[in-house]
């Protein structure tokens, strides 16, 4: 190989190292010109290193299907009554199935016609005829169910994004996982419970009338009048902090929901200094509210949030202008968060937390410190060992090792990959394994020298014979790392990433870079002995 070739390879190496440093330095120091730092990013730290919360939610999309069925059944009931089709027992049979009974053939025929024309999304699941009466089981069409579920997930994502944005988290990550799950990563969250409450609340706001014509005691004993339901509210004594449960007898019919809201804000009452949420309806909502209040003066209107009665004030007079308030015993934070969820809108279906991992910032910092310590100690041990074992050649391997670490970190920064604690472990492991390539080459060179070859020939032979072995050995580790990347969640993925990057970089530094150093001494300096 000629002298010129060494120069070309040297320049290639220098360019690659310079590029790695260009991306890496902003993560190490802030004393660089802003022109530079504006175009690069710091190494992104995983939640386990910077602290934060990792959440996996499951959207109960089947609940969205159920409420769609509920709505369609009501429409069906209205339509059948309007068209004077005789039917009995129109009931929802749990889940997304509705049943009804048709007394005779004529009713059956007319029902089927209505179903076909007006309810294209319903299918007859099965029907049975006993003594001339037909019992029909209805279900929503599969295609429609799929689209309801898809919409529920999209809507939930959108709503949760809005809530998190308003809550103020820097760089949140909210992404769908499969058909029902949502992955949420919130770095630097200080009060995880509050964030969970905010994200997980369905926030279905409903206005319902209290049933004052029937006895609440009777209902509590089990005689709930048709069209009514018992709901509960809580009263908190400000002095003792004791919560008492208060039952209410409500009419099932929802008069107005949170969908009609235009805005929701926290306010503090002048008299008691208590926080409450003031609501503003949109124009349609304001008209409805006006109509409802006008028709029900002196009656109690319950404000129900996710099935819990917050208050049930008496409508003193007709309320125009579209403003209302939710009072209750809120702390300011609670009122603030309630306003956020009401503004962002209700979730189309309840969500369930499947997985939650929270790491405090102090533990994250601890892990960073310990990880760096491990890298330093591990590197020093390996560096010393290599020098001890291979003398000057050991130094060549050590230079490659150092460059390898620079390249790994530079690549991490350049590709905006996330560094996690297992990721740091991956770097540590790579340090131990990266010198393997050099060990393979050096052992070969030693063998060649023992055969009495000249340094030039021994080095050439050592490199060429070890090359394939190194590639083969590394590809298998790479296969394992790639599988791990596919399987990985969060922190584990970080390990697969650093391990893969480490393997690839180490092949470059341990084979390509060290060869340049040898060639330089052999060809340019013309040395006659290899220190190995």
């Amino acid at each position: 190989m000629s002298d010129k070739n060494i120069k070309v390879r040297g320049i290639v190496t220098l360019v690659i190292i310079a590029a790695a440093l260009f991306f890496l330095i902003p993560s190490i120091t802030q004393k660089i010109p802003s022109v530079w730092s504006n175009h690069t990013e710091k190494i992104h730290l995983g939640l386990d290193l910077q602290g934060g919360m990792h959440l996996v939610l499951e959207v109960e999309t089947e609940k969205a299907v159920e409420s769609a069925m509920e709505r369609i059944s009501n429409e069906l009931k209205d339509t059948l009554m309007e068209k004077r089709v005789r039917f009995k027992h129109l009931d929802r049979e749990g889940g997304a199935v509705t049943t009804l009974e048709l007394p005779n053939k004529e009713a059956s025929t007319r029902f089927e016609k209505i179903l076909k024309n007006d309810f294209p999304n319903l299918d007859i699941k099965s029907s049975e005829i006993t003594e001339g009466k037909e019992k029909v089981y209805l279900k929503i069409k599969d295609k429609q169910i799929a689209s309801i579920e898809k919409f529920a997930l999209e809507q939930s994502l959108e709503t949760i994004r809005n809530r998190v944005d308003e809550f103020g988290v820097s760089e949140p990550e909210i992404i769908p996982q499969g058909k029902k799950r949502i992955l949420i990563q919130l770095p630097g969250i200080k009060d995880p419970q509050r964030a969970i409450n905010l994200i997980g609340k369905t926030a279905l706001l409903e206005f319902k009338l209290l049933d004052e014509s029937h006895s609440l005691e009777d209902a509590l004993r089990g005689n709930v009048p048709a069209g009514d339901a018992v709901a509960y509210g809580y009263k908190v004594e400000s002095e003792t902090g004791r919560r008492t449960k208060i039952p209410y007898l409500l009419k099932k019919k929802t008069l107005l929901t949170g969908e009609s809201l235009e805005d929701a804000r926290v306010s503090i009452s002048n008299r008691f200094g208590e926080a409450y949420v003031s609501l503003k309806f949109d124009s349609q909502g304001a008209r409805d509210f006006d109509r409802i209040t006008a028709a029900n003066v002196k009656k109690h209107l319950a404000i129900v949030l996710d099935g819990v009665v917050h208050s049930a004030p008496v409508i003193q007079e007709r309320i125009s202008g579209g403003n209302a308030q939710i009072t209750g015993s809120f702390t300011t934070d609670e009122a603030h968060d309630l306003a956020i969820v009401l503004r962002a809108g209700a979730l189309p279906a309840p969500v369930r937390i499947l997985e939650q991992r929270t790491v405090g910032p102090s533990l994250g910092q601890d892990s960073i410190n310990k990880g760096i310590l491990s890298i330093i100690v591990g590197s020093i041990l390996v560096i010393l060992f290599m020098v001890l074992y291979y003398s000057l050649s050991g130094i060549v391997a050590d230079i490659a090792l150092f460059l390898n670490i620079v390249l790994i970190l530079g690549t991490l920064a350049a590709f905006k990959a996330t560094l996690t604690l297992p990721g740091i472990a991956g770097i540590v492991l790579t340090i131990g394994m990266a010198v393997d390539a050099n060990v393979l080459i050096f052992e070969r060179i030693r063998e060649e020298l023992r055969l009495g070859k000249s340094p030039r020939a021994a080095i050439g032979g050592g490199y060429s014979k070890a090359l394939l072995t190194i590639v083969d050995a590394n590809v298998t580790t790479l296969i394992a790392a790639l599988v791990l990347f596919q399987f990985g969640t969060g922190a584990i993925k970080g390990f697969a990433v650093t391990l893969s990057i480490g393997i690839i970089c180490s092949m470059f530094t341990a084979i390509f870079v060290t060869r340049i150093i040898y060639d330089y001494f052999i060809w340019d300096k013309n040395i006659k002995r290899v220190s190995i």
Binding site: V56, P192, Q193, I196, R352, I353, L354, E355, Q356, R357, T358, V359, G360, L363, D366, S367, K370, G371, L373, S374, V377, G378, S379, L381, V382, F385, M386, L388, Y390, P422, A425, V428, L429, G432, M433, D436, V439, E443, R446, R450, K465, L468, T469, D472, A473, V475, T476, I479, A480, A481, L482, V483, L484, Q486, F487, T489, A491, I492, F495, L499
Partner: protein, 306 residues
């Protein structure tokens, strides 16, 4: 410096039977331990459950923590020291992960406030994994191992021959089973990072094995007079120095990780430590001798001179 002298010629293949007996006994012990313990000791990642890590600023003990948590019903829970003694860190683990435990960290905080001063402890980590996710991760973990093994089998078959691939896969199953068995014997928990460690061990063990195979292949091309058995034996000897050296450097860094890496990745580093030792052993004593055994069962088609 040289640890393994050049020209070394240990009769490794001749000690094949001893190695097989040793390995087989360790594997049987591992499997027995797994059977007796009803499978591996699954951490919350795979079994589902709740884990809370708390750091106290002063010396305390598990009993005192248990006492102060009596007021909130934690169900079936374990309280144990985490990391070094003077760290004063504890883990609270419960089996439940249902909504009944919603806001668990807040409730633990409140309960601890009654017997510790407010600034004396810090909740540093909370992990809640639902049973469904646990099951998912369990399946995904097993599949990942399977895919890794299949991928490696294909690669080694392509680069070498099937008989080598069989030896390599037997060696790495050997490594994984023994590592899992040692974890079971020591009562250590299986978590996500441990799966990562096992996959790394698979990669590492193979790395070593392939270096030997490469040398065997090279020697088969060169020396045609020797029997396969002799070629295998001298090949193992020729790369022995490298095998030992790489194990040393890798062990050095994993040891650094084990000692200085902190409690969170302690078990991960431990798994690697075990795996690298076992992996080095298996690439010398198991992987290549297995090729010989396979060869005697079904000889390769290319008729080689004996």
């Amino acid at each position: 410096m040289e640890i393994i002298k050049p020209g070394i010629n240990i009769d490794i293949v001749g000690r094949m039977k001893i190695a097989f007996v040793v390995s087989l006994s360790v594997i049987i012990i591992s499997i027995l331990s797994l059977l007796l313990h009803g499978g591996p000791n699954l951490g919350i990642d795979f079994a589902g459950g709740t884990l809370v890590q708390i750091k106290f600023s002063q010396e305390t003990n598990a009993d005192r923590i248990r006492d102060s948590l009596k007021t909130i019903n934690l169900g079936n829970s374990v309280i144990q020291r985490f990391g070094y003694h003077d760290n004063n860190e504890f883990l609270i683990k419960t089996e439940k992960s249902s909504s009944a435990l919603k806001g668990l960290s807040n409730r633990i905080e409140e309960a601890l406030n009654s017997s510790y001063n407010k600034g004396d402890f810090e909740i540093r980590r909370v992990e809640v994994v639902g049973p469904k996710v646990g099951k998912d991760l369990r399946e995904k973990g097993m599949l990942a191992m399977l895919y890794a093994v299949i991928g490696i089998l294909i690669y080694v078959t392509w680069r070498f021959e099937l008989r080598y691939a069989v030896g390599a896969v037997i060696a790495l199953i050997h490594d994984v089973v023994i590592t899992v068995g040692i974890f079971s014997l020591l009562g250590k928990e299986f978590t996500l990072p441990i799966i990562a460690a096992l996959l790394t061990i698979i990669g590492y063990s193979l790395n070593d094995t392939i270096v030997v195979y490469d040398r065997i292949r090279e020697n088969i091309k060169g020396i045609r007079k020797q029997s396969l058995k002799d070629i295998v034996n001298s090949s193992i000897n020729q790369v022995l120095s490298r095998t030992v050296l790489t194990s040393v450097t890798t062990l050095l860094v994993v040891l650094a990780l084990f000692i200085f890496g902190g409690a969170v990745i302690h078990d991960f580093a431990f798994a690697l430590l075990v795996g690298i030792l076992v992996g080095t052993y298996s690439s010398i004593f198991i992987a290549s001798p297995t090729v010989l055994v396979w060869e005697s069962i079904s000889p390769s088609k290319e008729k080689r001179k004996k």
